[in-house]
C-alpha cells in the first residue's frame, strides 16, 4: 500500500515535470522565432551553409530519382517478365573472345522452344518470340527518316513488350504467318513521315519495298539517348526475312509466367536452350540469357557517383553551416548573458536554458532547411521546364530527409553554446553588462 502510494506520487510528479517540459518547449520556440525575426538578416546569412547543404541534398536526390524513373520507363520496353536469349551477355565482359565464336541465335529456335514449352507441364515460360533487326531508311512522299530500327517478329511480340497503338493495331496472327508486307511504326517515325495526315493504310518505302502501315505506337519518350520505341518499326518475320536477308541480328525473347520466379524460369530456359543446341552435359552454355535487371545495374555506377558528389557537397556545406550556427549561437549566448541570469533568478533550470539555445540553433537550421527546400523546388521546376524529357521527382521523402538533416545539424551545432549557457553562474550572468 505505501509502495502504491509512493508510486502514484511519483507518477504525478513525472506528469507535472512532463507538462513543465512541454511549456518550456513552447516558450523556447516562441523565443527562437522572435529572436530570428529580430535578426532576420543575420539569421539568413548564418543559415546559408544549411541552405546550400539542403539544396545539394535535394537536387542530388531528385537527380537520382529522376534517372531511376527515366531509366525504368525506358526499360519498360524490355519488360521485367521477359528473358532474352542472345549471343552476347548484356554486360561488359573481360573475356570477349569466349563469346565471339559462339553460334548466332537463330529465329527458328523460337518455334522449337514453343513446342518444348507446350509439352512441359507447369512450365514457368509462356511463349518464345523471335526477333530480327536491321537499321534502314524509311520514305513516304518527300519525307525520309534514316537509321530506323526495323524489327521482324511474330504477332506474339505484343505479349513481351509494352506496345500500345494510339492509332490502328499491331499486325495480326494471320499477317504474321503469311509474312504480309505490313508495318507498325513508332511515334517519332510517324511524326516525321506524316506530319499532317494519318499514316494508317498508307504505304511506306523501306529498302525499295512498300509496306502498308497498320498501326502507330503511342509516344514513349527517350531518356539519355536510350533505346526507345518511338524510332522503331515492326513487321512480320516472314516479310522481314524476305527483304532483309543480309546478316540481321537475331534474338529470341521468352515471356515468363511469374516474374517473382525469374530465376526458376531462367534455369528452365537454359535447359531448353541446351537441348535446342544439343549440348553435351560437360559443355558449357554457348548462349546468354538476359533480363532487364542486368541493364539496370549498369546504371548503378552513375547513380553512385552522383550520390557521392552530392553527399560530399552536402556534407561540406552542412559542416560549414554548422560551424556558422555554432558561432552565432555563442554570440547569442554572450549577448543575452544578463537575460540568462534573469531567467535563472526567476527559476529557469539548467535544462531550461540548454533547451532554449538548442531550439534556437535548431530553428535557425530549420529556417535554412525551408529556404533550401524552396530553392531546390524552384530549381526543379526550372529544370523540368528546360528539359521536359528529364523526369523530375521532388518527393515527400526528400522533404522529410532534409528536415531531419536540418534538425540534426541544429542540435549538433547548438550543443556547445547551449551547454555553456546552461552552466553559467547566475550571479556572474546577472552582473554581466
Amino acid at each position: 500500500m505505501p509502495d502504491l502510494f509512493r508510486k502514484s506520487i511519483w507518477l504525478r510528479l513525472a506528469k507535472i515535470d512532463m507538462k513543465r517540459f512541454l511549456y518550456e518547449l513552447g516558450e523556447s520556440w516562441k523565443i527562437a522565432v522572435a529572436q530570428m525575426r529580430a535578426n532576420m538578416t543575420r539569421s539568413t546569412l548564418t543559415a546559408l551553409g544549411v541552405i546550400i547543404g539542403i539544396v545539394a541534398v535535394t537536387l542530388m536526390g531528385t537527380a537520382i530519382g529522376g534517372i531511376s524513373i527515366g531509366f525504368d520507363k525506358s526499360m519498360a520496353v524490355l519488360g521485367d517478365d521477359v528473358l532474352y536469349v542472345t549471343q552476347w551477355p548484356w554486360k561488359v565482359v573481360d573475356d570477349w573472345w569466349n563469346y565471339r565464336d559462339r553460334k548466332k541465335i537463330k529465329t527458328e529456335y523460337a518455334e522449337m522452344l514453343n513446342r518444348m514449352i507446350e509439352k512441359t507441364p507447369n512450365s514457368n515460360l509462356i511463349v518464345a518470340v523471335p526477333t530480327s533487326s536491321v537499321f534502314r531508311s524509311i520514305k513516304y512522299g518527300g519525307n525520309q527518316v534514316d537509321n530506323v530500327f526495323v524489327l521482324g517478329t511474330t504477332s506474339d511480340f505484343i505479349v513481351t513488350s509494352t506496345i500500345d497503338c494510339k492509332e490502328g493495331r499491331f499486325f495480326s496472327d494471320m499477317e504474321s504467318r503469311g509474312g504480309a508486307s505490313v508495318v507498325v511504326i513508332g511515334y517519332d517515325v510517324a511524326d516525321a513521315l506524316f506530319p499532317s495526315e494519318s499514316p494508317i493504310n498508307k504505304s511506306v518505302l523501306i529498302n525499295g519495298q512498300l509496306f502498308k502501315v497498320v498501326g502507330v505506337n503511342t509516344r514513349q519518350g527517350t531518356f539519355l539517348g536510350l533505346f526507345s520505341w518511338d524510332s522503331m518499326v515492326a513487321m512480320p518475320l516472314g516479310a522481314f526475312n524476305k527483304y532483309f536477308s543480309a546478316k540481321p541480328d537475331s534474338d529470341v525473347r521468352v515471356k515468363v509466367k511469374d516474374k517473382t520466379k525469374l530465376a526458376d524460369a531462367k534455369d528452365e530456359l537454359t535447359g531448353l536452350m541446351r537441348r535446342v543446341r544439343g549440348l553435351a552435359p560437360e559443355k558449357s552454355d554457348d548462349f546468354s540469357i538476359n533480363e532487364q535487371q542486368a541493364f539496370k545495374s549498369t546504371l548503378d555506377p552513375v547513380k553512385n557517383s552522383i550520390a557521392v558528389a552530392g553527399l560530399f557537397i552536402t556534407g561540406l556545406s552542412l559542416f560549414v553551416g554548422a560551424i556558422g550556427i555554432m558561432n552565432i549561437t555563442f554570440v547569442s549566448v554572450k549577448e543575452r548573458t544578463k537575460e540568462i541570469g534573469t531567467r535563472k533568478a526567476l527559476g529557469a533550470r539548467r535544462r531550461t536554458i540548454l533547451l532554449q539555445f538548442l531550439i534556437e540553433s535548431t530553428a535557425l537550421c530549420l529556417l535554412g532547411g525551408f529556404i533550401g527546400l524552396s530553392f531546390a523546388y524552384v530549381m526543379c521546376l526550372g529544370i523540368g521546364k528546360a528539359f521536359p524529357s528529364f523526369p523530375i521527382q521532388f518527393s515527400v521523402g526528400l522533404v522529410v530527409a532534409s528536415m531531419i538533416v536540418s534538425v540534426m545539424t541544429g542540435l549538433i551545432s547548438g550543443f556547445a553554446p547551449a551547454w555553456t549557457a546552461s552552466r553559467l553562474d547566475p550571479v556572474t550572468a546577472l552582473r554581466y553588462e
Binding site: 511549456y23 529580430a38 526567476l346 533550470r349
Partner: protein, 248 residues
C-alpha cells in the same frame, strides 16, 4: 542586537543565516565580500539592508535569494539547509519561494508585460490559461491593467519596475528581494514603487530591500547596516508618520 517591530506579532522564521562568509578570488587577490554575517528574518518582515557601495549588500542579497552559495556558514531557508540542495532544487526555490526585483528591471525586451510576468509561471509548469489569467491579475494589482500588451520600450521606468514587481509576485513567493529597486528611478516614481511595496507588506508579504538611500530605507520596519562585509547595526526602523498614514 536584534530588535523587533512591536506593531506586529512575529511569524515563523523564513531566513536563518549564521556566520556567512563569501570570498571572491580574482587571480592573486581575494575579495572578502562577506566576513561573517548572521541574520534571522521572520515571515512578513519589511527589512532594509543599507550600507555604502561595495559593503556586500548585493552579495548578501544573492545569497539570500539562493543565486549564490556562501564560502562558509550555514543558511536555512524555511528550515531547509540550502547547502544540501542541488541546482534544480535551488532553481525551484528561486521560482516558488523568492521574487526578485532588480535595479535594472531585467525585463525581456521583446516580450510584452504579460509574457514577462508569465515567465516564472512557465518555469513552474502552470498551464497557459491559468498563466495568462494570473499574470493579467497581478499586472492589474500593480496598476498596469491597461498595459499588459505593451513591450518594455513602450513603458516608462516606473511602469517597467511595476512589471518587474508583478513578475516577482506572480508565483506568490514567501519573500520578495529587491536590490536597489528605485536606483534607476526619479524620486517621485521611486516613491510610487515604495507605496507598492508598502501595500504588499500590508497584505502579508515578506520584503527585503537593498538601498543606500535613507528616505527609501525609511519605509522599512527594520534596518540592517552593512560595512565591509559585516553587520554594523540591526534595529527596528519605526517612522511614525508613514506608519500612521498606511496602517491607519
Amino acid at each position: 542586537m536584534e530588535t523587533r517591530d512591536l506593531t506586529r506579532p512575529r511569524g515563523p522564521i523564513v531566513i536563518d543565516i549564521e556566520n556567512i562568509t563569501k570570498d571572491y578570488v580574482m587571480g592573486e587577490e581575494t575579495v572578502r565580500a562577506l566576513r561573517g554575517v548572521s541574520l534571522k528574518i521572520h515571515r512578513n518582515e519589511y527589512i532594509a539592508i543599507m550600507g555604502p557601495s561595495g559593503s556586500g549588500k548585493s552579495t548578501l542579497m544573492n545569497m539570500l535569494g539562493c543565486l549564490d552559495t556562501p564560502t562558509s556558514g550555514r543558511y536555512e531557508f524555511n528550515g531547509k539547509n540550502v547547502a544540501e540542495m542541488n541546482d534544480d532544487e535551488l532553481a525551484a526555490i528561486r521560482n516558488r519561494e523568492i521574487g526578485f526585483v532588480f535595479q535594472t528591471f531585467n525585463l525581456l525586451p521583446r516580450s510584452t508585460s504579460l509574457r514577462n510576468v508569465e515567465l516564472p509561471l512557465i518555469y513552474a509548469g502552470i498551464d497557459p490559461e491559468t498563466r495568462e489569467q494570473r499574470a493579467a491579475e497581478v499586472l492589474a494589482d500593480v496598476g498596469l491593467g491597461d498595459r499588459i500588451h505593451h513591450k518594455p520600450n513602450e513603458l516608462s521606468g516606473g511602469q517597467r519596475q511595476r512589471v518587474a514587481v508583478a513578475r516577482a509576485l506572480v508565483n506568490r513567493p514567501s519573500i520578495i528581494l529587491a536590490d536597489e529597486p528605485t536606483g534607476n528611478l526619479d524620486s517621485k516614481t521611486g516613491e510610487e514603487i515604495m507605496a507598492l511595496f508598502e501595500d504588499l507588506y500590508q497584505r502579508g508579504n515578506t520584503i527585503i530591500l537593498v538601498t543606500h538611500e535613507r528616505d527609501i530605507a525609511a519605509h522599512a520596519r527594520r534596518t540592517v547596516h552593512l560595512r565591509d562585509g559585516l553587520i554594523e547595526s540591526d534595529h527596528a526602523g519605526f517612522i511614525p508618520e508613514i506608519d500612521m498614514a498606511t496602517v491607519g
